[in-house]
């Protein structure tokens, strides 16, 4: 089942007098349960592509369909609701809400969606258990290591069972051990919950685990390689 369909998408930025073609005619699709990595040199358009898929930005041309939604037809307020309901984000710098505990951070999007308290608590505990942080629910982000914070961010992204998770350089700020632990968790969630993960990364550890690797250069897909085994 296709989760994301991208058809001949272009994204052009006008930087003063220079025209920058960040994405230049990309056509791709992502199936449910994929564990995909987008690689490429800096400036190749990885992050722009993730932003377009996540509804954070709109393409200049082409269309993106996510879970039946044609993103170019959504108004800004509808895009916010779309992101809340269909996309999970994991950022390079964790971006947790510093004044909330790990549990509260995980439950944040559920509370935005007005989940009943009991259901929210149960889901939060389940997710904290999945990422191995059952005992750190009451800790503030500042009391957690980088790896632990990123695991909380993953739990938050998964909370409302989105269609897919977009992870932009999720291991960039982690040491090898933490990065491997995080990838173990993501792989497990991908396997157990059939959650679709789309990464952008330079990290070989992530690439090693990917089942599909898409390479971008100058805003174009130069290779799209699917592996049968890792």
């Amino acid at each position: 089942m296709k989760v994301v369909e991208i058809n001949d998408v272009h994204k052009i930025y006008h930087d003063t007098e220079v025209e920058v073609r960040a994405i230049n005619g990309v056509t791709l699709s992502f199936e449910k349960g994929e564990f995909t990595v987008i690689v490429g040199p800096s400036g190749s358009g990885k992050t722009t592509l993730l932003n377009l898929i996540g509804g954070l930005d709109q393409p200049t041309n082409g269309e993106i369909l996510v879970a039946g939604h044609r993103l170019s037809e959504l108004r800004p307020s509808e895009l916010i609701d779309f992101r809340m309901e269909h996309v999970g984000f994991v950022f390079q710098s964790y971006n947790l809400i510093p004044v909330l505990t790990a549990s509260e951070n995980v439950g944040f999007i559920m509370s935005l969606q007005k989940w009943p308290k009991e259901k929210r608590i149960a889901r939060t505990n389940e997710l904290l258990g999945s990422v191995g942080l059952s005992d750190r629910g009451n800790s503030r982000p500042s009391q957690l290591s980088g790896g632990q914070q990123q695991r909380v961010a993953v739990a938050r992204a998964l909370a409302t069972r989105p269609e897919f998770i977009l992870a932009d350089e999720p291991t960039a700020n982690l040491d090898s051990k933490s990065a491997e632990a995080l990838l173990d968790i993501m792989e497990k969630l991908n396997r157990d919950e059939e959650m679709t993960f789309i990464f952008s990364t330079h990290d070989a550890k992530v690439m090693k685990r990917a089942r599909r690797i898409i390479t971008l250069e100058d805003g174009k897909v130069v290779s799209d390689e699917t592996r049968t085994e890792n």
């Binding site: 996540g54 307020s77 916010i80 609701d81 809340m84 510093p98 999007i109 938050r156 932009d168």
Partner: protein, 475 residues
């Protein structure tokens, strides 16, 4: 959750938030406490006006106020008073004979309003009898065959009835009031000298003392030397019913002291029956009926009722007689609202600045919130709540400090004796007992919330303009 985040956010930078909270606390305290002091001053003035000078309602012969003619009396005043006293809301009513005349002593003469009263009935209505200066006699209780007069301290001074004598008792009193022996020794040279005016006495002792001693003990020295001999004579001259000039000797039965120099300087009270005998006014005739109500709030209602039932007479409420006071009383809330709004408007700039810093520091975080699905309304609400919480914490603490300060000063009051001369010239007490109505706190709370909301608009708009993509790119 949004409320919780907003509350926690204001404590992220404690010192910055505490500075704003302290500023709001001081501003709110300054506003409430100064208004409490002003309010108490106005209330005291109102109480004095109604209960010492005017009464709630006055009923006059239609022409009397403009003519002042002895002949312009109220016909059938006795039966009218009975009727008035039966009106719902009326506590008591009494008649007054009012004459324009001259009060003279051997030293001076002053124009006065001679008011003939029923001493027993007046005591039910006015608190003026309670304003008797201790040691100066009584309110028409002296057993004497002479005509009696009850007058204000200012008039007594003007007529040189008050003397200033530093007797042995006066010096002993100063010693009891902890005036240093050095000062008392210097004052010994004035012992038993009689001064007929306060000015002359002040001039005499001020040269003996240093400026700081004068400043510190001047009032106490004047108070101690203040002297009056009960039964001092005053000659009152006025026209009788035949427009014949009549004069009679009255003995001062007591001297009263209010906060209104103007009232004190022109009002002189005598028993109505004595005045009736001297003027030839018929039994049961009065120029004015004064009416005391059970409550100040009934003034408008009872005035209208009496006006309807007595169409041939002039019925006036105290608000109509002294519209300046009524205006002050009616507009206290509005004045307070404007006063507080100005203070809070100034504080709003501080809150805007703090909130703007808080928003700009959290650019990435706010962008992230927008990225993961927090809509514009919720982001706006979060920033607005932070601003409202900042204002409210300061506001509540300002109100608490104000309450404590009001409670602390309510018993002994604030003594502005240095400014008493000026204040009492306008009828205001120099001793303030700060008090505020609960309404003032409600107005303050509403204004604080409004300030918080208004202060949040600019920072919140800044937050809403943030692009989540740029926030992520900022990494």
């Amino acid at each position: 959750m949004i409320t919780e985040i907003a509350w926690k956010n204001i404590w992220r930078n404690k010192s910055r938030s505490l500075i704003v909270i302290t500023a709001v606390t001081i501003g709110v305290f300054a506003g409430i406490f100064s208004m409490a002091a002003i309010n108490s001053s106005v209330q005291q003035r109102l109480d004095a006006a109604v209960h010492e000078e005017l009464s709630h309602i006055q009923v006059n012969n239609k022409d009397f106020r403009s003519s002042g003619d002895i002949q312009d009396t109220i016909q059938g005043a006795d039966s009218l008073m009975t009727l008035i006293e039966k009106t719902k809301g009326v506590k008591a009513a009494t008649g007054r004979i009012i004459l324009m005349g001259i009060a003279s002593t051997s030293a001076k003469s002053e124009g006065v309003e001679i008011i003939g009263v029923d001493p027993v009935k007046e005591q039910q209505i006015f608190t003026l009898p309670e304003k008797l200066v201790p040691g100066t006699g009584s309110y028409f209780k002296s057993e004497t065959k002479y005509n009696m007069a009850y007058m204000g301290e200012t008039l007594a001074r003007d007529l040189n009835i008050i003397r200033f004598i530093l007797t042995g008792d006066a010096l002993a009193k100063l010693r009891n009031e902890k005036v240093p022996e050095l000062v008392i020794t210097r004052l010994q040279s004035l012992k038993d000298q009689r001064f007929i005016s306060e000015k002359a006495f002040a001039k005499a002792f001020e040269v003996l003392l240093s400026p700081s001693q004068n400043k510190k003990y001047g009032l106490k020295i004047k108070e101690a030397a203040w002297s009056f001999r009960e039964g001092s004579k005053v000659i009152l001259s006025f026209l009788d019913v035949n427009n014949v000039q009549t004069s009679a000797v009255f003995r001062i039965t007591g001297i009263f002291r209010t906060n209104n120099d103007m009232f004190e300087s022109v009002s002189l009270f005598v028993p109505g029956e004595e005045l009736r005998r001297l003027t030839g006014l018929r039994e049961g005739t009065y120029h004015r009926i004064i009416v005391e109500l059970n409550s100040d709030d009934l003034t408008g209602e009872v005035t209208s009722k009496l006006r309807e039932s007595m169409p041939g007479l002039e019925v006036l409420s105290w608000k109509e007689i002294q519209p300046d006071l009524a205006l002050m009383a009616d507009f206290m809330e509005q004045i307070y609202g404007i006063f507080m709004a100005i203070i809070l408007a100034a504080l709003a700039f501080g809150i805007v600045n703090t909130m703007l810093m808080a928003v700009l520091e959290r650019t990435r975080e706010i962008g992230m919130l927008a990225a993961i699905g927090m809509n514009r309304r919720k982001i706006f609400t979060m920033i607005m709540l932070e601003s409202v919480f900042l204002s409210l914490v300061g506001g509540v603490s300002g109100m608490a400090v104000s309450l404590a300060a009001i409670a602390a000063t309510a018993k002994h009051g604030i003594n502005l004796v240095k400014y008493s001369e000026g204040m009492e010239a306008f009828g205001y007490s120099a001793h303030l007992y700060p008090s505020v109505d609960i309404k003032f706190f409600l107005i303050t709370a509403v204004l604080i919330v409004i300030t918080g909301i208004i202060s949040s608009v600019y920072p919140a708009r800044k937050a809403l303009k943030l692009n989540p993509v740029e926030a992520i790119r900022g990494e």
